[in-house]
Amino acid sequence: MTRRGAWLLAAWCVLLAIGVTWIQSRLHVSADLRLFMPTPRGEQQRLLVQNIGESPASRLLLVAIDGDQPAVLAGISKQLASTLAARPEFGLVANGAQAPIAIPDALLPYRYLLTDSFDLHSLDASTLETALADRAADMASPASTLLEAWLPRDPTLEVLHLVDRWQPGTEPRRVDDAWFTGDGRRALLLVETRAAAFDPDGQTTALEALRAEFARARGASPARLTISGSGYFSSVIKQRTQAEASWFGGIATAGMILLLWFAYRHVGFTLLGALPLASGALAGLAMVSWLFQSVHGITLAFGFTLIGVAQDYPMHLFSHLRRGESAEVTARRVWPPLATGVASTCVAYLAFLISGVIGLAQLACLTACGLVVAGLTTRYLLPRVTPAATRDPADSRLLERIDRRVSRLPRPLALLLVIPVAAALVFWLRPEGFWQNDLSKLTPVPPTLLREDLALRRELATPDLRYLLVASGIDEQDVLARLESLDDSLAQAVNRGAIGSYDHAARYLPSDARQRARQAKLPDPAQLERLVHEAAAASPFDAQLFAPFVADIARARELPPLSRAELATTPLALRIDSALFHREGRWYGLVSLFDVHDPAAMAALGSAASPFVTFLDLKDASEQLVAAHRSHILLCLDVSALLLVMVIWIALRRVSRVLRVLAPMVLTTLIILAVLRGFGVSLNLFHLISLVLAAGLGLDYALFFEHASDDPAEQRRTLHALLVCALSTLLVFALLALSTVPVLAAIGITVSLGVVCNFLLALLLTRERAA
């Protein structure tokens, strides 16, 4: 390396270091899955996208404790619930031991505005008479202990009625006042996290807190903790992906260094080979963080996977070096196929920029920018810092033997026919389930965890995760009124058995209009006084006893309607906040459904109240969304394929050359699709991205084989370069194929298959025969 080269190298490294610091300070990584979703169309999809990971149901963690005597487990459950409730990471904590939601003393007169008891029959003489007869019976029953104290103030027991009404529809079995599974062996808790389900970092913090508190509550007991729920899954998947990624990364790096050492026997080459990729990655990141506010974690993961193609660029340079020839001359020689590869791939990614999916646009931007910079640095910077070649790969005995063997093989033109026919046959035989439409499979959870989750959900009777009714309106009152207007038909649905029960914000906080209407129906003090006297005369009670009751009703008549602000510090606020909120200028109220038996009836109920109420089938909406998403991506892929062919055409100019370059890529794509189909794998977004990567690799291989001249030595250098490229890529992706995270495994298998097929097909079909 010259003195100038050394300076240049130093400057390059410094620039990279600056780049790293700048990006670290700027880059905001988001885990919001919504960045990777297409612009939703229609109310259903819009609500779906808003709801993913943020609905109250999705923020619930399901907790089970087992492994000890029920009494001990109940004790741990109570201790855990009380410590968790005091922590900032959690909202609602429920395990059955909590007193039912109580109305704060100061708000007690409001009970006459909150209760529905007098909506049908107003508070008249007969209502009161019946109530007093009931209270007399209470006096002679064991319950008198509990009810006596309320008698003078609340003879109709409205407080009790409200508390009952606010209880969840069905409750798990109780042991020692803690929830248990039906078999009585596991204590159950429901814990609401403040962090959204798709926020794996927030979820991880919450889970750590939960585990720490459990360890404290458990003491010396051998009890075990089981956690489930969407948030738990997102944390588990992130941790697993991270752990495996770093493990695989380590092995892949070591393998790469060994491979490069074996190929070039030069430490310098091994280190320099990393520079274009590093430059490309940094440039891509810089571009994305400059153009977009936040980068999705998936963009980063896939972006770096796709940029991995650039690791091949320096190898093309190094393998084509000749003794006595300056690296800059070599760079000029390998530039045409390299530039064609870079240009065609980048043009193909441009199609994603206009896909309308922010995540994909980011991915395209990151990859295209990265590849261009990696290509340019390989062409213009790397040669200036590359030391003079001491070995020529063309001299390798091993390579010569391989070369001779390969040359003797016949050109398998029959494959051009066999592969498409075989693939068509596979598609025809296994037509079902070609595409994966289940959104939950995009971040797949191991089936054992899903089964556990389902079992716990059934025991805890949590709201249905799939079906929801959503009311919307211009303000809070508007939405509350809409929710109230649904009450009649919802109650009918409960009676008919279409649903087990339901819950919404207006059950806790009636609209101002309804509260005023109830106020207006309350008797005035003189009237009430008369009513009480009348009713008491027929009862064993003295009318004077009910003075506090008369006073409370008088207060209730004068009160301004109860507002959300007054409930802010009560347990009711938690329930209201998660089910009544505004987004983008509009207010929404969620109706949680429990135990849905007849979704069609609920859909009809929703459409009857359309357009202010929407029935949301999250699974259905998400499947439609994914399908729409995919057809969008497929369209993008078609456009990119067209652009790619055009660029190749412009570069190569002859039909026969273009066909020879494209054949391996097309055949490989068919093979991969046929193999995946043959094994019954449904394609998802990750497969598509992997296919794009494999096609890009195949294109590069074919371009280089096609470009190699008749010179046998030069052909051997190209073979060397492509062998190193293919082996290094295979190393990385074969490791990924071993991953236990389904997404990583899918990418690994698809790309590994692509590398092998592309390399062999390009070698056999595209490569010129030596003269």
């Binding site: 009931d134 006096m139 002679a140 064991p142 009790l160 109780r174 009670f541 006893l545």
Partner: protein, 217 residues
């Protein structure tokens, strides 16, 4: 505080005490009996909240599965069941009401004592109450005075009385003067409401314990 009469009644039902002189530990052993047991009852309730005392009658049952059931038949129908930590009350034409004993700790103390009596294990009973046994020629009286100051504020004492091996009355005397008298099966039920003094006499109030048990300050 109103004592849960059904438990005490059942205690009485299951208790067969001979008139001869016995120490408390002998009584303890004698209390052991195997459910199910059923008996009729009449209950009179005197309360400052009431213009006139209430009178109800029906049957009491202690079932083999540990559930206590109290069925009122006159003047209305009502069924109360205590199973584990739950108290469930069902009345004609009314939805059932379920109450948790956890929210009524004093009621729970009573239930605990009852179980202790059934098991013939006075340790928990004497932990919650001061237990004394008094006898004369024809009658015996078991008196329970709560140890818990909060409970004592509401409930002055409970007296279970009987003759020979037949318990026939449970009186729960509240600190504010309210009281409940439960007469068992053998007692004739008169349509007319007896005066409180008559009931007090029937239940031998003042026989075993001071007539008014003033709570210790």
């Amino acid at each position: 505080m109103r004592p849960p009469i059904p438990y005490l009644l059942c205690v009485a039902m299951l208790t067969s005490v001979a008139a001869s002189s016995r120490a408390l530990d002998e009584l303890e052993r004698a209390l052991r009996r195997t459910p199910p047991v059923t008996t009729g009852f009449v209950e009179y309730r005197f309360s400052h909240l009431l213009k006139n005392p209430l009178q109800v009658s029906g049957t009491l049952e202690y079932r083999a599965d540990g559930v206590l059931a109290r069925r009122v038949e006159v003047p209305y129908r009502e069924s109360t069941e205590v199973s584990g930590e739950q108290l469930r009350i069902e009345r004609e034409n009314r939805p059932a009401r379920t109450l948790s004993l956890a929210r009524a700790p004093q009621l729970r103390v009573m239930l605990g004592s009852f179980r202790a009596l059934l098991e013939g294990n006075f340790a928990p009973l004497s932990r919650d109450f001061e237990v004394t046994l008094a006898e004369d020629d024809t009658h015996w009286t078991l008196t329970l005075v709560p140890r818990d100051a909060r409970l004592l504020k509401a409930l002055a004492r409970i007296q279970v009385s009987g003759s020979e091996d037949r318990p026939d009355c449970i009186a729960a005397l509240e600190s504010d003067g309210d009281a409940a008298f439960t007469l068992l099966e053998s007692q004739p039920v008169s349509a007319a409401l007896p005066a409180r003094a008559v009931l007090e006499h029937r239940c031998h109030l003042g026989a075993g314990a001071p007539r008014a048990a003033p709570p210790a300050p």
